[in-house]
Symmetry: none
Subunit: 203 residues, 4 copies
DNA sequence: GATGAATGAGAATTCATTCAT
DNA sequence: TATGAATGAATTCTCATTCAT
């Protein structure tokens, strides 16, 4: 009879964790990590203060929890990267579109944690190692293939890849700063960026 | 009579303010705004806690002080923008080189304030209005001229300019995240970026 | 019909209570009353937190439970006191040996509760009235008989009896403080104490 | 002019520390270490909560502060030990009188800290090493001299000394337990104890 | 009876800010 | 002006106790 007693338990725990992380994301995004209080998060989640500490050891763990949830959804996207066929022009567009879509979908979460990622050495390292660096390792061989195939110019690869990554991250920052174009024309960016990256501005 | 007693006074006050802002920049960069205490800043500046409050009304004012000092040095750079002659290829390189140089020179200050700029709505607004938006207003007519002159393609200007700005800001973020290439090959970026922006990667 | 269903029930309850008190004794002895948590005691007893509250109304009741269990075993020893024959020299040795044996056997329990007995007015009173005072009432007539019989000197009885009791309690304290001699030569004390009490140190 | 600026400062600091320790002693004695709150101590000292933390790093430091102040007054007494001349009979009486006087004078402080000394391993160790053990080291050679001089019997010294120390500590405990005789006839104890220790009870 | 998730009151500690000297 | 002791509001985290299952 009691066929899946643990899965149900585990599901309840997961649901509670998510409920708390949702609340934390919202409050952090508004007030920032230090500005937010456990009480506010608890009220947002409609639970008692102490309950949070059943699921997360410290306030900092909430931030890590948000970051990890974010990474998971990033990783789901990463898979798509590899699906892309040989056409490197459409690769760029698809790739950028996906990245910007993720930012769009989880914007509040980024807003909640990016300031503290930039501030806290541990978080910086965690984020760089877990998220940014893997992107580089994943992208570099692809670029190298294209160079070898003569599809793109033999550029300084490390610097170029970082520049492209910076473009995406910079757009996130620009949007966080409240730039209206970055907010309202978000969908236009992938194509413009692709054109820029592939063919440049010069006639 | 006493014609310039105030200038001397004012200079002393300015010196003291700078001494405090230097200390604050250093401490904020290491510990973040909330992580830093007035005592730590006072110790770094080798003055008493209370003295800080003679020159700055609140802790937050220190942050604004740093931001404003930063803006001034940015503005000094902005002038150079206009010096650039007609050659739009060298314009890009010079422009980007200058922007990255400013970041390089004031990196610690950026590290000290960027996280809190991204977090605090007022600071976000202040920074966007005072620093980012002027860049757009300044650059857009120049680009339009070039388009009119047939030098560059008739792109979506707002989006393109934001993409280029994002590249610079994203590099700052990448460097804050500790990316070794962004730190060690910082000087290479302007040229690579210029080549990318003008001619793209595709052969 | 069911003639002794309660005794079995009662026995089960008693067993559970003892199981919990054993766990509490161990944890209190290590961490102290306030330092110990119900969760730790529950884990030590391998039951759930809530179960403890079926058998004990509050955390404080656990302390009282330990104290009462201790008193019972003390009382069992008290009986021996009366067995002792007329020889008052051997009485002392036997008496002290028994007291020190009890301390030895229940040392952990003493360690668990003595600090809180000394601190808490109610517990102090409870312990004094239930344990210490009865000793005095029990011992005093015996001493008086000996004085009447000319066996011992006509001393200030109240003070003398307290001094002897203090010796035993002080040894407990010394042992709790970790004194190596008090721990390792515990068995030597009754004889030395008896010699001291009866004949003194002076030649 | 500013001849003793530091001594005045130092004196103020010392006075404040003592003011706080007095308050802490009183509150700890009543409610115990864990039962007492910083707020209560602050109120007792008529200062703000935060002020306590200028003079003591943690609540535990208050306890150590009380203990150390106690040790100092003990040490002042210790000197007297050595003043005592060759008459070992009067030595005992003087010695015990002094010890009991110290207990009498600082009873509240003992009440405040003894429970927690007995409970906390570090404090136990601190107290034993700093206070109890020195007593043994100090007393043992004196006893050995007396044995050598044939003044007292060749007893098991370590055990005997501990027994005598235990007597004193046990009386403190007895008094803490509220024993009326120990409280009201405190002054009688040194003589009775001396008589007991030197000549015993037996006729 | 047994469980353990949820509760929320309560405590230690920090730190921006003030102000008498 | 400069100082730094004093303030006390505010915050994180703990844990005895309850109660629905």
């Amino acid at each position: 009879m009691a066929e899946q007693p643990e899965p149900i338990q585990a599901q309840l725990i997961k649901a509670r964790r998510n409920q708390i992380l949702d609340a934390a994301t919202q409050v952090f995004a508004t007030k920032g990590f230090h500005g937010a209080t456990i009480r506010q998060i608890a009220q947002q989640a409609e639970i008692a203060d102490g309950t949070i500490y059943i699921y997360f050891k410290t306030k900092t763990d909430l931030l890590l929890g948000i970051l990890n949830r974010l990474n998971e959804s990033e990783r789901r996207k990463e898979d798509m990267t590899q699906e892309v066929g040989g056409d490197f022009a459409s690769f760029f567009c698809t790739y950028l579109r996906h990245r910007l879509q993720v930012i769009d979908a989880d914007f509040q979460a980024f807003q909640a944690i990016l300031p503290d990622i930039l501030r806290t050495p541990e978080l910086r390292n965690h984020y760089y190692t877990q998220v940014i660096e893997p992107t580089f390792s994943l992208t570099e061989p692809i670029f190298q293939t294209w160079i070898a195939q003569g599809l793109i110019k033999p550029v300084n690869l490390a610097v170029t890849i970082r520049t492209i990554t910076a473009m995406v991250m910079g757009l996130l920052v620009l949007r966080m700063l409240g730039d209206r174009v970055a907010i309202e024309q978000w969908a236009q960016f992938p194509e413009v960026m692709t054109a820029l990256i592939l063919h440049g501005l010069a006639k």
